[in-house]
């Protein structure tokens, strides 16, 4: 063991000359504390709790298994073939797409507009408004689901009561029981929860835009809309990418609200892949089939997760 620490540059040079494995071994020996606690231990834990489960899910998706029996029967691609013919799968898949698209269209755009509006200096109490809008995003979807189940209840709910009170009684309905409105009602509740997150991220993004850019635009005589279109939006490119990916992945994860508010009903109209996977695995004990649904979720989300990670951890790839 050498007594003094070499600079990073020297260490890198040594790597190139003497090969990867021996140099890694020497570095490990010298910095055993860093390597054992900082690299090897987390990687082992990762392998047990994340790596193995992913691979095992892939394997299970090719099998038939009731989750308890030690016997796992391999059935090849059968589960996937069954999936393609399963109407509930199609419904859940389409619902996930609707979930992502409508969340991008409403809460994310609303969050952007609120962020710009509250940053313009034209609104008093902007900080208070921001923190209020973000509060729902710190609440659990279970609590939010119960809250809106009360409000949307067809018999004593405040929404129908309010509609009747202002003479719009013809609009009242069983918001969560009507197959035509149930999913959109859930999406409204989800939007209520979600808006604060893009608001905060866009706000932080806007705060990082140099003030000179806005000043220059003002001097050039740009109005508010032009400033937004030509200065604000282009500067928010990477934040926008991150939020878009985050939103799509969050939509693919959707489960809590469905579980609490509709249990997939009425007639599976609010089923999503995350919920479908849960009922098939833990209610019908079709673990192989559930694993196949999981693989679909995994494939869909990994594309977006890759783009996301490239944005978040991108530059660090070059640092270390």
């Amino acid at each position: 063991m050498t007594g003094f620490a070499k600079s990073g540059k020297q260490r890198k040079f040594a790597t190139a000359r003497q090969g990867w494995l021996p140099s890694m071994w020497r570095a490990t020996k010298r910095h055993w504390f860093v390597y054992v606690g900082g690299i090897i231990l987390p990687l082992i834990l990762y392998a047990i709790f994340i790596g193995y489960p992913i691979l095992r899910t892939l394997y299970l998706s090719l099998a038939e298994w009731n989750g308890l029996d030690p016997k796992v029967t391999m059935v090849g691609l059968n589960n996937y073939r069954t999936l393609l013919d399963d109407p509930i799968f199609k419904l859940s898949f389409v619902n996930n797409i609707k979930w992502a698209v409508l969340t991008l269209l409403f809460p994310v755009v609303a969050g952007l507009l609120f962020a710009v509006f509250l940053h313009s200096g034209k609104v008093a109490f902007a900080g208070l408004f921001r923190s209020t809008l973000f509060l729902p995003a710190t609440m659990s979807l279970v609590a939010i689901g119960i809250m809106f189940s009360l409000i949307l209840n067809p018999i004593f709910g405040a929404l129908n009561e309010g509609l009747r009170a202002i003479g719009l009684g013809f609009l009242t309905r069983e918001w969560l029981g009507d197959p035509n409105t149930a999913l959109y009602t859930l999406l409204f509740v989800f939007g209520w929860f979600y808006t604060g997150l893009p608001l905060m991220l866009f706000h932080a993004g806007i705060s990082e835009i140099p003030a000179e850019l806005f000043e220059a635009a003002t001097i050039e005589g740009a109005n508010g809309l032009q400033t937004f279109w030509y200065v604000t939006l282009p500067s928010l490119k990477s934040v926008t990418t991150v939020i878009t990916m985050l939103t799509v992945i969050t939509s693919l994860k959707a489960f809590d609200l469905v579980m609490v508010m509709t249990r997939g009903g009425p007639f599976n109209q609010t089923s999503v892949l995350g919920y479908f996977m849960y009922t098939e695995s833990f209610w019908n004990y079709r673990f192989g089939y559930g694993a196949a649904i999981s693989v679909v979720i995994l494939l869909l989300s990994s594309v977006f997760a890759a783009i996301y990670l490239r944005n978040v951890a991108g530059e660090s790839l070059y640092v270390s």
């Binding site: 989750g67 008093a124 209020t132 509060l135 659990s140 999981s294 997760a305 640092v319």
Partner: protein
């Protein structure tokens, strides 16, 4: 811009209009919460006679007491606190050294290791839950508090790592070099230079991860079974059963009790939380 600055009257009028418009839009977010508070203090008789929108005439906290008894809330509260505290602490303990290693050492393949460790954050829980269920069963940790704490620690690690590493990168190299010249080893530098400086980032990560675990539902629903192990998010589902749900004020009171701790934390740690959201999601 200058013209407006010279005319304070016009600014205040414009500001008044914009502020009012924003406040009206915001009512959509505030109203459901106010309604829940009103419902929770109303008696059922009042609800039947005056409807959900009326202001309560004789506010009472009886629904809170009943919700506490029905849900066995002290057990749920204790469990949620345990999971959030222990899970977050474990995540921080597990993430400190990787953050140190990946921010201040040239580890071969370090960038790749970093990204691999982060994938746990992006992974939908449904894609790992079946084998994880099996792993926990084999370790005899299914329906056990320790099992869930371990899972939360592991799945909280990526976010904490992202926040801590981003912070550690910014610690000046000179401080570390000075310590090395004084004869500090890796352990010494970590203990005497990095740890004391990284406390603010630990606070940010703690607040954020605490809220995440407090609100977590899916893993707790799958991995736990006995009433004495459930956190609030799973235990509170009891109030959606018809017999309790039809009494209106009880579920309203229950969900307020469920969310009160994080609302308090949110108010106290507002800066940390919003900062953590940004560095955890965008900056890295």
């Amino acid at each position: 811009m200058f013209r407006e600055a010279l005319n304070p009257h016009r600014i205040s009028l414009g500001k008044l209009v914009y502020t009012t418009v924003t406040a009206l839009l915001l009512a959509l977010w505030v109203f459901p919460m106010v309604l829940t508070i009103l419902t929770s203090v109303k008696t059922n008789a009042e609800m039947l006679l005056a409807g959900p929108l009326a202001i309560p005439q004789e506010p009472t906290l009886r629904a809170f007491a009943r919700a506490w008894d029905v849900l066995n809330f002290n057990v749920l509260l204790g469990n949620s606190l345990l999971y959030a505290f222990a899970g977050t602490s474990l995540a921080i303990i597990l993430a400190l050294l990787p953050a140190y290693a990946l921010s201040r050492f040239h580890i071969p393949g370090g960038g790749l290791i970093f990204v691999v460790l982060l994938t746990g954050m992006m992974l939908p829980q449904q894609t790992v839950v079946l084998p994880l269920y099996d792993v926990l069963r084999q370790l005899n940790l299914l329906d056990s508090k320790w099992g869930l704490i371990m899972v939360h620690g592991m799945y909280g690690l990526p976010l904490v790592l992202l926040i801590l590493r981003g912070f550690m990168v910014g610690i000046p190299q000179e401080l570390e070099s000075a310590a090395r010249i004084d004869g500090c080893s890796d352990i010494g530098v970590f203990r005497h230079v990095i740890l004391p400086l990284v406390t603010p980032a630990v606070a940010v990560a703690f607040a954020l991860n605490f809220i995440n675990i407090w609100n977590e539902f899916f893993f707790a629903l799958i991995f736990l079974n006995s009433a004495e192990n459930l956190p609030i998010t799973v235990g509170i589902l009891k109030v959606t059963q018809d017999q309790y749900f039809s009494s209106w004020n009880l579920p309203a009171a229950a969900l307020m009790m469920a969310q009160l701790p994080t609302v308090i934390l949110y108010i106290l740690a507002y800066r940390w939380i919003t900062q953590g959201i940004y560095s955890g999601a965008v900056k890295g």
